[in-house]
């Protein structure tokens, strides 16, 4: 049979960001997919050579709008490790709380995009209506909705009062209750089950072979979660990785839905355990210039992110590199797309939660 090549992207309704897949089709079946990235490469890593290390945090935050908090946090944690800075306890807890709030935000955004991709526009709006409440929390506490700029090397810039924290927890728990009703739609609607169930199945062995990370790996039954290494105060939190075994598109949706509940629970634990009081120290000022190199791992909403920072004792770092979760999940996406129907390609691509800005930097 004659083969056809269908370019998927860079502009496509399901893709918020440019990614190209050249799909080689035989009839409606995808035989092969050739990915091309590089449409939004901005050379942010190169900027370390001319931006001072204290200011680079603001650049790193702008790698991506959805994971901006955790990018900033990862950079600061790396520099703190190099410079042997112990950050104040309350600052570490605040970072953890913000990181989990940003996870909820990211998952709600993705669930909305996913709903839009499989034709549930109303569901998309409900997910984004809930996400708006999270963005309001961010604007109240950090001063920015998307770019927060609260992370500094040595701590955080803003405090949340104890009453504010309690109010946020109440708001989040209320949001969790609202979300349960929406989650019910994802879980029980027959057309969603028909559209996503059994589509794009990634077995546990395959997921290990292509080194999946984050919710993608957890949906295939691998209990991996970088938060379990216990860095950044996650060792003081009771945490079970959310694991589903089906490995299909629906399982990836379910993992992200359950992670929203898990994040709300983590925030509750953090607010219980953090030291209370006003005017506690939030920052340890860094002294001198960094010298040395470090790898930092964090669990972003999309999976494990890896930062490599090399400093040579001057104001400018020698090398900064971020290996983002989407980059690790692209091989899995190609594997899933091969052999599927053309109509399932958008859903499969979307369920890896692609963040192309992160990947290309």
């Amino acid at each position: 049979m004659k083969r056809t090549v269908v370019p998927f992207g860079p502009q496509h309704p399901v893709l918020p960001e440019p990614l190209v897949l050249d799909l080689i089709l035989e009839d409606e079946k995808v035989l092969d997919a050739i990915p091309t990235i590089g449409y939004i490469h901005r050379g942010l890593e190169m900027m370390v050579e001319r931006v001072e290390y204290t200011e680079m945090g603001f650049v790193v935050e702008r790698i991506c709008g959805i994971c901006s908090f955790m990018h900033g946090m990862g950079y600061c944690v790396s520099l703190e490790t190099i410079m042997n800075i112990e950050i104040p306890e309350r600052a570490a807890w605040l970072r953890l709380i913000w990181a989990e709030i940003s996870r909820i935000q990211s998952h709600l955004l993705w669930l909305g995009l996913g709903a839009d991709a499989f034709g549930f526009e109303n569901l998309f709006m409900h997910c984004w209506r809930m996400r708006e409440q999270i963005l309001d929390i961010f604007e109240k506490t950090t001063g920015g909705r998307i770019i927060h700029s609260v992370n500094r090397i040595g701590g955080v810039k803003r405090d949340m009062s104890d009453t504010e924290l309690a109010a946020i927890l109440v708001q989040l728990q209320d949001l969790g209750k609202q979300f349960k009703k929406t989650a019910n739609v994802f879980g029980t609607d027959p057309s969603i089950a028909h559209r996503l169930g059994g589509v794009g199945v990634l077995s546990m062995e395959d997921a290990r072979a292509v080194d999946c990370v984050g919710p993608m790996a957890r949906a295939s039954g691998i209990a991996t979660d970088t938060r379990l290494i216990g860095a950044n105060y996650y060792d003081r939190i009771e945490l079970e990785p959310v694991v589903e075994t089906a490995g299909d598109c629906l399982a990836r949706v379910v993992v992200r839905m359950r992670e929203i509940d898990q994040s709300i629970d983590i925030i509750r634990q953090a607010i219980d355990k953090m030291p209370k009081g006003e005017g506690m120290p939030l920052e340890t000022k860094p002294r001198g210039n960094p010298m040395g190199e470090v790898f930092t791992r964090l669990e972003q909403p999309r999976g494990e992110v890896l930062y490599y920072v090399k400093a040579n004792g001057t104001k400018n770092l020698e090398r900064f590199r971020a290996r983002t979760p989407t980059f690790a999940n692209i091989p899995a996406m190609i594997k899933l797309v091969k052999g599927c129907e053309l109509a399932d390609v958008p859903n499969i691509i979307l369920t890896i939660d692609p963040c192309i800005s992160c990947t290309e930097r």
Partner: protein, 145 residues
């Protein structure tokens, strides 16, 4: 396969019929920004001593300070609102207002030769307090951005 008669969206849809919309009628109804939100940098020319710290620490190089000419200028379109200049200012001349100023997004030279988003203050040494001169001609000659 789930029961095809289950329609989980129906209760929500019925509630939406009687509930208020989740959105605002935006240009007529604007939600006030929260306390502590980062909007636009505001400058007080009277207290500034031209130490140039804000210029050196600005990650976006949006601030230009000239000690000799007593000029303090900011490009609002370049400013990323990170609040660093406000934190380092020893004289507390800089404040962050919670409102975002509307900025020109078109690259057009105005009737007085101003650049979009460019704001500049000039303090005469003889006069202690000069009112803020806004959108004066740029230092190096006005040029379209």
């Amino acid at each position: 396969m789930a029961n095809p008669l289950r329609l989980p969206m129906v209760p929500r849809a019925l509630r939406n019929l009687v509930s208020k919309p989740a959105t605002r009628r935006y240009p007529y109804e604007i939600r006030p920004r929260f306390e502590g939100a980062r909007g636009t940098i505001e400058f007080d020319v009277d207290t500034c001593n031209y130490c140039m710290l804000c210029m050196r620490r600005c990650p976006a190089a949006a601030i230009t300070v000239s000690r000799e000419d007593r000029i303090w200028a900011i490009e609002h379109l370049t400013c990323i609102g990170c609040n660093v200049c406000v934190e380092v200012c020893a004289k507390k001349s800089l404040t962050m207002s919670k409102e975002s100023k509307p900025v020109h997004t078109h690259a057009e030279v105005g009737p007085h030769g101003e650049r979009p988003g460019h704001e500049e203050w000039h303090k005469e040494e003889t006069q202690a307090a000069e009112p803020a001169v806004q959108a004066a001609p740029a230092v190096g000659g006005a040029s379209p951005v």
